[in-house]
Amino acid sequence: VSHSLQAIRTALRCRALLAASLAALLGGCSQGSISFLDPQGPIAQAQRDHFWFVVLMTLIVVAPVILQTPFIVWRYRYGGKGTYRPHWDRSRWLDIAMWGIPVAVVIVLAVVLWRETHQLDPYRPLESDRQPLQVQVVGFDWKWLFIYPEQGIASMGQLVLPEDRPVAFQLTSATVLQTFFIPALGSQIDVMNRMVTKLHLQADNTGRFQGKNMQYNGSGFHRQRFMTQVVDDAQFDDFVAHARRDGYRLDRQRFTQLNEKSDATDFAAMLGIKNYQHGDLMAFSPIPSQLFDAIAHHAPIDWTSLTPSPPQNRKAMDERMSPSNPIPVPPDAEENTHDEAEDNGGEKAT
């Protein structure tokens, strides 16, 4: 199976290239790769292989039917060459073939599906010698916020990922049910209010890959897209440094604006960015600590953590913020922000 898959893969790569060049001709490269048939990571690749395997297995049953139906209709037509045998009703070998082959196909498909469902479980961490990058995704109406908890930054419009490094996503929604999907990297997953889902992906190549919401959530649904920008490690460090240096402060006012119904372009206008194009990067820093958990569990957001820390503490703070060592919320901070959180809850309900 793996041999034939390899051959199919090679054949398809040429087709994917052709498709990609066609897409480039029609839509321009800036739109980014949008299909799992042109996979850019191990998960999408496995899903593409699975897809073609299922298609081929199904064809074993379907193709003879499609090909033989016109043949049989022609051969046994009135006045045709086929023998007329009105009392014929049984052929042991035909019966065995007609029942046996589909049963065998179903068994093979079932076994493969069972195994690959577990192998490709979105909650299962990817094997790699590198630590996965933690990214927390929050779906708003009609935009995505990407929080990098280890780096203490966030982004919108663009999801920046390092190449060849697994990414561990945690996802939630600040509003209705949405679905997070980067087709070129594979695996679509639901994001829900007050619930956290997980997803593990990896990008093998640098490039720009379209990401989108796949579950209708109102009139701005079609604008809820983002660009996945996969870069090398040095560029990723540049991105983090840039976000920390020039990022917008994600304060209470801006968070309130985030909860309003608007797309990324509208939000860029609120930030005062001119000429914002779809897929441009908006970076945020500082951001409230534990922002994702607060949104996911409707807990009070710790706005006091936005107070800028002296530069020499920055590194220490980064270490403290790693997920293995989360910052405990000081009890008084929670009390201070209690009424603010109630304000927030009120806004969400409207």
Partner: protein, 307 residues
Amino acid sequence: VSDIWNVVFGRLGWDALPFWEAVRDPTTFNIINGIIAGGAAGMVVLGALGVVILVTWLGKWKYLWSEWLTSPDHKKIGIMFIIIAMVMLSRAIIEAVFMRAQQAVGLDGGFLSPEHFGEFFTTHGTIMIFFMAMPFLTGIINYVMPLQIGARDLSFPVMNQISLGLTAAGAAIVMISLVLAPFSTGGWSGYPPYTELSYSPDAGVDYWIWAVTLSTLSSTLTGINFAVTIYKKRAPGMKLFRMPLFTWTALSTAILMIFGMPPLTVATALLALDRYLDFHMFTSDLGGNMMNYINLFWAFGHPKSTF
């Protein structure tokens, strides 16, 4: 005056007219959408008027009432189911044409507003499943199956009339939503919390809930009717394994209807409780869980796909 208006019309206002936005804010875009929606509403009103005038002209009211609308004859009920399916299909096809046309030119906006497109795909999906595929299937089985097994009628002819009435009422609700807009934009699956009051406060989801609830009740009753007829009403000598293949598929469909339809009736009824009585079955706060809706919906949806 406004008090009386409220008592009589509730939330219903001029903005329910499908072309109201074009009157209020006559931009080219709004006028195009107003003409499309207004044209559709006009077709419903004119179509209904045309039928009334035609029946009156032919003097066939008594005939229509006593020979068709109150008839328990399975063949006539089957034909009426199929007529409903064909009327609804013609609307769904027009909607599909508009959606594809929008997609063909829609890269930078197109001619349909996002809300209008959302209503298009919700009504198209809802109609094709609940008011085209199912009435058509029910109609054909209604007509053919009793003839094939040698039964005089279905086991419960009056229940068959009730099924027809429920489906007709559901279809009427979907058609009325063209005249007094809007319809839901939540898709044919109507997932909460988007379809909850906090995110979809207008009447659209209510139209959808009532239409789907009536349709699923109708199909549950129909399923029971078909299954009982096939089990109990076969002519002497018509053993199960002598039944024609079509009756076998009718039996399989009926069994799926009996256990596939009630979950959706329950799901939409619970959603209605959320919207009308402030329950929190599927809300994202106060203990609601949207996944319960999705589980119920697909307890219906997977058997339904097998019809």
